[in-house]
């Protein structure tokens, strides 16, 4: 069926699809709903009815004990604020490891397997489980990202794929950081997909543009790091547990040539010679001698087993501004209230604390010396130890100039010109998804705020009273009287001095930048009609709206 599908064909397909509902589904769903509402039995007997409708709305149940989750997130935020959160990633300006026939001008030119999919399609197919058992090859800048686990949990992220959390496998975090630190250029990451999740296989160090010929392996063995991957074309002559990769089809121990490469593999490759493109990993120890390599076949790269993904979009639309102009504009305040994007690294520097002269740390961005970066209006970071600079955060930082400083809004998670819909915001889901607590998410929708705007972030040891007002992000415009017209609104609190957000009452269209935050948000009601003042329930995760922005006017700071 390659012609346009008819309406009848679509209807027929959907009717068949909908027909898969089991015979007991209606009864089970009704019984489940009745039980969920409460006061009923879950057996689904016919005389069971819904219980009393609650007067106030309730939040969905947490997937972790609320107090524990809140403490964990607060700790992550505190660590990030106080400057010891380990984050490592490569420079965006480094170059790819040379390999035979490599070094294409653009990563998008790389050819490993025929055909490719867009990043959005990849994520869609991944989540649907359609890529299970396959390898994925994705060019893009990579970073180490800390998740929110009680035990160690470190993931790999690829720039432009904020939803993709890549398991690091059996690598230690230190090994992972070292491997990423050694990468150059725009790395080409290879993932293995299982159960709709991605696990890191490694990075292609050679053959990323065009697979190497089998006899080319000898030429790159000294440049491929331990653990590095290579794509190789050739005949594989397996004998069960190892084999030979060569350019000739009739290879045998008797007629071996001078360019055979011995490889290790598992039994799944059988014993029949096969021509193909193979993914090899160099498993020689890091302390290997020159010329020493140990090649293991970790997979085949073909259209059936591999999906190649276009490099995800990470570009920012909008004008640029030189760093020198930012420095000048901070003095006269002409940029105050705007949003600037900086591809850079937030670092700390030892500073004399103004109050007690103890050494403490201040934030700054590499390339903008002497300009303090503030967090939630505060100048200083934490008490530091002598020893110099510490990198605390790297990536696409969004800041807003404010009274001579740069107020850090967060790190962009996603694309500014591709905001998500309000209906796709789900704090509970985000909490479960190991999102970066400092990640900024662009969101499209309407901000409707009537009551007190600001509900302060909860800090360890500080219990601020909760405001009685509420604000929501709504997918649809409010009516003329300011009433909400959608039932799927997301409660938000508004960051003090959020750029682009005016005075109350507010009914403004977005897009906005939000980040997940620990807030005292027990005050908000989801339907906007009842404001229940009960702040005794402890901290609750919600969204902090930090700015309204125009995608076309976010200025990207450039450095000489």
């Amino acid at each position: 069926m390659t012609e346009r599908p008819s309406d009848d064909a679509i209807r027929g397909m959907l009717e068949a699809r909908a027909g898969g509902v089991g015979p007991d589904a209606e009864r089970a769903v009704l019984a489940g709903a009745r039980a969920a509402i409460g006061g009923t039995d879950s057996a689904g007997t016919s005389d069971v009815r819904f219980g009393l409708r609650p007067v106030t709305t309730t939040r969905p149940p947490s997937r972790a004990p609320l107090g524990l989750a809140a403490v964990a997130v607060a700790a992550v935020i505190a660590v990030a604020v106080f400057g010891t959160r380990p984050v490592a990633q490569p420079s965006a300006t480094q170059a790819v490891v040379p390999s035979l026939g490599v070094a294409g001008a653009s990563p998008s030119d790389r050819i490993v397997v025929a055909g490719s999919v867009r990043a959005e399609e990849f994520m869609h197919d991944l989540s649907a489980g359609r890529l299970d058992g396959k390898l994925a090859v994705i060019p893009g800048r990579v970073v180490v990202a800390s998740g929110r686990c009680l035990a160690e949990c470190t993931f790999v992220k690829i720039d432009g794929l904020p939803e993709l959390w890549i398991a690091k496998g059996d690598r230690s975090t230190l090994d992972l950081e070292a491997a990423i630190g050694a990468l150059t250029g725009i790395p080409v990451t290879v993932l293995r997909i299982e159960d709709a999740h991605a696990e890191l296989v490694g990075w292609l160090a050679a053959g990323a543009d065009d697979p190497l010929p089998a006899n080319g392996l000898a030429l790159v063995r000294d440049t491929v790091p331990a653990g590095g991957l290579v794509a190789v074309d050739g005949w594989l002559h397996p004998d069960g547990t190892d084999g030979v990769l060569t350019g000739i089809s009739n290879w045998s121990p008797a007629n071996r040539g001078g360019h055979d490469i011995g490889v290790y593999l598992d039994e799944s490759y059988g014993t029949e010679p096969r021509y193909g493109t193979y993914l090899l990993r160099n498993q020689a120890p890091p302390s290997r001698l020159p010329g020493q390599a140990s090649w293991h076949v970790v997979g085949t790269l073909d259209a059936l087993t591999t999906v190649r993904v276009d490099q995800p979009r990470t570009d920012l639309a909008g004008p640029t501004i030189p760093a020198a102009d930012v420095t000048a504009a901070l003095k006269d305040g002409s940029l105050d209230g705007t949003v600037l994007a900086i591809d850079g690294e937030l670092q700390t520097v030892i500073w004399d604390c103004p109050l007690d002269a103890r050494p403490c740390l201040r934030f700054y961005v590499d390339g903008l010396p002497g300009i303090a970066v503030t967090w939630d209006g505060a100048l200083q970071g934490s008490f530091g130890e002598a020893g110099g600079q510490v990198s605390v955060m790297e990536g696409r930082l969004l800041v807003t100039p404010h009274k001579g400083h740069l107020e850090l809004l967060g790190r962009l998670d996603g694309a500014l010109d591709q905001p998500v819909a309000v209906t796709d915001l789900d704090a509970d889901e985000y909490r479960a998804g190991n999102r970066d607590p400092l990640g900024l998410l662009p969101v499209d929708g309407w901000l409707v705020a009537k009551g007190t705007m600001y509900c302060p972030m909860l800090r360890p040891g500080i219990g601020d009273p909760c405001s009685t007002g509420y604000s929501v992000l709504s997918p649809t415009a409010p009516d003329a009287s300011g009433g909400l017209t959608s039932d799927t609104n997301e409660p938000v609190v508004i960051h003090r001095g959020a750029p682009g957000v005016g005075q109350l009452p507010i009914a403004d269209p977005g897009p906005f930048l939000v980040r997940e935050a620990v807030v005292r948000d027990a005050c908000a009601s989801s339907n906007g009609t009842t404001v229940a003042v009960d702040c005794g329930g402890g901290p609750i995760l919600g969204w902090l709206l930090v700015a309204r922005y125009d995608p076309a006017t976010v200025r990207v700071v450039t450095f000489p």
Partner: protein, 182 residues
């Protein structure tokens, strides 16, 4: 999901009469399940979405401003639940609709324009679409809703619904071409 709205029952439900609410939704749960199933393609996902939607509807009855728009309001809650459920699959893989189940669906002789193989290809192409695109196609082609009704359900202008529906059709055609090339 277009049963006649018993405005009296709805009013009683808004006053907290659970029996009235029960009667209202009991007549609709079947069509809700089929709509959810058409969007998600997964029975477990569809059941969860409908159950969540019913609970949410009960709790949010106060926010229903136009009693006559009860069905559109309920459908909107349902599609939002479907959307969230599908997004959650990024981390929690739920069961796919087994191909065998689709294959077992009886195809009546002369059924318009498709056979099992084509239907499978079309469904795989449909699964490639975004949740929003699927929703539009389901509301139009399966629920048989006109554009005005789709716009009401999704809370968007009619013109926007029209353009998005056209875009969803184009996406389906492209996905089908991609399926054919596999």
């Amino acid at each position: 999901m277009e049963a006649i709205v018993d405005l009296g029952a709805l009013a009683r439900a808004r006053d907290g009469d659970s029996s009235a609410f029960d009667a209202l939704v009991e007549a609709r749960v079947g069509s809700m399940l089929r709509t959810a199933m058409a969007i998600t393609g997964d029975e477990a996902e569809a059941r969860d979405a409908v159950q969540d939607a019913l609970v949410a509807a009960w709790r949010q009855l106060d926010s229903l401003r136009e009693p006559g728009a009860f069905d559109a309001w309920l459908t909107r809650i349902l599609v939002n639940r479907c959307r969230r459920g599908l997004r959650r699959r990024i981390r929690i893989r739920d069961r796919e609709v087994p191909v065998e189940v689709v294959a077992e669906v009886a195809i009546a002789p002369g059924e318009p324009g498709t056979d099992v193989v084509e239907r499978r290809a079309l469904e795989r192409a449909f699964d490639r679409l975004s949740v929003d695109e699927r929703t539009l196609l389901v509301l139009h082609h399966f629920d048989g809703r006109p554009l005005a009704s789709i716009a009401e359900v999704l809370g968007i202008p009619v013109g926007t619904a029209k353009s998005r529906l056209s875009a969803a059709r184009r996406s389906l055609e492209r996905a089908l071409e991609r399926e054919a090339a596999r």
